[in-house]
């Protein structure tokens, strides 16, 4: 019963989404208040019905209803309850349902802030969002229905949830990532609405900016959680693999970072208008492309669920409609030549432009590296793969240039910066950076130019930003939340930079053969394999290695890596990690060799946590910025709302 109820709810939601699409646009065409306002209730309806569908699926998981194919494939009776809940989004169909529910949640958020927007604009935004949601709902209902039944061949017991997914990281990683992915649909809808009304200007940018910030922050959190999860759960000790699916979340992130900055310029200076709109379209297109890459199975990856050409075709068609439609709209509506807004090379505008060029180039490079193998296969019929060095080769230098530029940002004014003023400030800042870098150089007992260089860049960013905060306090310039958000996010970038540089260069990794009783040196540490014990988990059996890790002069720590065999007979490596502010020790059990001996992976990873901590700072900065007071209290009163309205024939032409 319950699954049918869920199925029905989904169909209702799709009907309401169709209604919302039509009503909003029609309401604007006919200037009908009633139609415009009825979209609100249609959106609320979608939210409620999708939530009901989502809860029905969750209920089916909790009561082990294996007559539902999706439940039978992703759960079984002995799976702990919290994983039964997270298993709802552990596979393709359910994660799509989560995606749709988050989509409706974002639409609700737009409704909550409806008083900030002109009425016609809001109608266009909501209609566009309803249209997108309709696309996702149809995709779910027609190609990947989570409520499909296994009748009459109902199995007594379900297959297991993939053990690497039975983990806290997976409970939170997909929802946060989807919040980011789907959140980008809001700036997209704003761009479409702005284009429809030929109304892209700095006030438009002010409306869209908080949404960009929020979805960007969620995307940042989602990516960093994914990276953290891969680090501790996959048993390899890596934190980034340039895996196609990682790339497909990273590309929208890069584009959204560019959008974030470009929208700021549009808001403050009215420049980069068309570029900002184009970026808003690009961001959402990239998240759709990401969905296509993950769902269609065209690329090899840990994340690819099942390979299904029908789904791939559907997403590709949807992608074509969305991207093609919005680009066409852009071409027709954004053509008016804008009055050029002048700025010199030493201005924030120019550096924002540089930021955008660097971010978008690296995005294109990653896009190329991700899609090229498909292209080669289509053209030549040969199978290729692109190695990690390709990505590093481009990405690292581009990001280092970016880091230099980021450090300069607090020194620059909008429009132009007096060169003598710039020189005066640099005269005090450069020596400080230099001295601090020398200290780092001295502290690392071995000379490693790469690390010192990266740390120097990070210090450069930190020094300049902190000095700027100090200067503003002294000159009693008001410090807004968006300013603090910017500073915190940039500091986060420098923390991540230090983390990446140190982990990549200073890590010590040893794969060794160890039997109980053996000792092994790992950098400054001494690792002893004490014993091997058998452990019984709720739905797995494990061999657990007991390791003592000793740093000279300190108390030893015990690490307990495991090799688990789950009820579905899948094998998983659970790493033993001693996390630390300055370094992690990471041990994972490889494979049993002869006798009691095991192949063991020992890692010493300095500063690895800084990568994720920096990401947290960035996300926090983004949220703080979105909460800036200038984005609030901006209720459009009726009179001004009607003034900004473009008459309906203006839209129809």
């Amino acid at each position: 019963m319950v699954p049918e109820f869920g199925q029905l709810s989904l169909c209702f939601a799709a009907a309401l989404a169709l209604g919302g699409t039509v009503t909003g646009y029609l309401g604007n065409l006919t200037s009908s208040d009633k139609l415009q306002e009825s979209v609100y209730s249609l959106v609320v309806g979608q939210f409620v019905f999708v939530l009901l569908a989502f809860l029905s699926l969750m209920f089916s998981f909790l009561v082990d209803d294996f007559s539902v194919a999706y439940v039978a494939n992703h759960s079984n009776t002995i799976l702990p309850w919290q994983y039964k809940i997270s298993a709802v989004w552990g596979g393709h169909e359910g994660s799509l349902l989560l995606w749709i529910w988050i989509m409706t949640a974002w639409m609700m958020a737009v409704i909550f802030t409806r008083l900030s927007y002109p009425k016609y604009f809001l109608s266009n935004v909501l209609s566009t969002l309803c249209f997108l949601n309709l696309g996702f709902l149809c995709f779910c209902i027609f190609t990947s229905n989570p409520f499909d039944r296994f009748i009459p061949l109902t199995p007594m017991e379900g297959a297991d949830l993939n053990p690497v997914l039975q983990d806290f990281g997976l409970i939170v990683h997909p929802p946060l990532l989807y919040m980011g992915y789907v959140g980008l649909s809001v700036p997209f809808a704003f761009a479409v609405a702005g284009l429809l009304q030929r109304n892209i200007d700095s006030s438009w940018a002010r409306l869209v900016k908080p949404w960009v910030n929020l979805s960007w922050s969620f995307l940042t959190l989602g990516i960093l959680l994914g990276s953290w999860w891969a680090y501790y759960e996959l048993g390899w000790g890596g934190w980034w693999f340039w895996d196609p699916v990682e790339n497909s979340s990273f590309m929208p992130w890069l584009a959204a970072t560019a959008l974030l900055h470009s929208a700021t310029v549009t808001e403050k200076r009215g420049a980069f208008k068309h570029w900002t709109v184009l970026l808003a379209v690009t961001c959402f297109s990239l998240s759709l492309l990401g969905a296509f890459i993950v769902r269609s199975g065209v690329l090899t990856s840990v994340h690819s669920f099942a390979v299904d050409p029908e789904r791939g075709t559907y997403i590709l068609a949807f992608l074509t409609v969305v991207v093609g439609g919005s680009l066409l709209l852009f071409a027709f509506r954004a053509s008016e030549a804008a009055a050029p807004i002048r700025y010199s090379y030493f201005s924030r505008e120019f550096f924002m432009q540089l930021n955008n060029v660097l971010l978008i180039s690296s995005m294109i490079m990653i896009l190329w590296g991700t899609l090229a193998p498909i292209g080669y296969e289509v053209i030549t019929g040969d199978l290729y793969s692109i190695g990690k060095p390709f990505f590093n080769f481009f990405f690292i230098p581009l990001m280092l240039i970016l880091a230099v530029a980021v450090g300069l940002v607090p020194l620059l004014n909008w429009k132009r910066t007096n060169s003598s003023y710039l020189g005066k400030r640099l005269k005090s800042l450069l020596p400080v950076t230099f001295v601090l870098t020398l200290i780092v150089f001295y502290m690392l007992d071995f000379v490693l130019t790469t690390v010192v260089f990266c740390c120097g860049l990070a210090i450069w960013i930190v020094v300049n930003h902190i000095q700027d905060v100090y200067r503003r306090i002294q000159e009693s310039i008001s410090l807004s939340r968006s300013y603090f958000g910017m500073v915190i996010a940039h500091l986060g970038l420098s923390v991540t930079l230090i983390g990446i540089a140190c982990t990549s260069v200073l890590s010590i990794e040893e794969d060794v053969r160890m039997a109980p009783g053996d000792q092994q040196k790992l950098g400054p540490l001494n690792v002893t394999f004490k014993e091997l014990i058998n452990v019984e988990g709720p739905n797995y059996q494990a061999k657990r290695g007991v390791f003592d890790v000793e740093r000279s002069g300190e108390k030893s720590k015990q690490l307990l890596p495991e090799k688990r065999t789950y009820s579905g007979r899948q094998v998983m490596t659970e790493a033993g990690i001693d996390p630390g502010f300055l370094s992690d020790t990471y041990i994972s059990m490889g494979e049993p060799l002869s006798g009691d001996a095991w192949a063991v992976r020992l890692h010493y990873k300095p500063f690895v946590r800084w990568i994720w901590f920096g990401g947290l700072l960035m996300a926090f900065g983004g949220v703080l910025s979105a909460l800036d007071l200038r984005y609030r209290r901006r209720k459009v009163d009726k009179a001004s709302a009607e003034q900004t309205v473009i008459p309906s024939h203006g839209i129809a032409d």
Partner: protein, 148 residues
Amino acid sequence: MNPKRKNRLFMASFLLIGVAGSIFALFVALEQNLNMFYPPSEVVSGVAPIETNIRAGGMVEEDSLIRASNSLKVSFVLSDRAGSEFTVYYTGILPDLFREGQGILVEGELQQDGSFEATEVLAKHDENYMPPELMSLAEDKQNNTTEG
């Protein structure tokens, strides 16, 4: 030349050099990092280049896995179950899902003597998953068996 034009010229040449440079770098990097995939038949017949980074794949032959007694050196035989097979040498930890009789992917260099020095061994992630490179191999195999 007035300053405005000069400015524009500077901008344009800056952009042009930047774009040309990146495209050039893109192709160089791609050239160096493009690893082609070869099935066992091509590895054996000599189509696959020697001492170049490539990918190869096949089924791990039953009972072919040999481990060294005091290090992590292993060797095993990959075959397409249609007569072509080659030996792979690898030092390190094999993935959790490495099994004899399963399809796997190796990355590394083919040696003069026809053996394969792998730098990386990739196994299937789960039962439903197969590297696309091996998918065609599996299909071929099916076709062969149905024909035979």
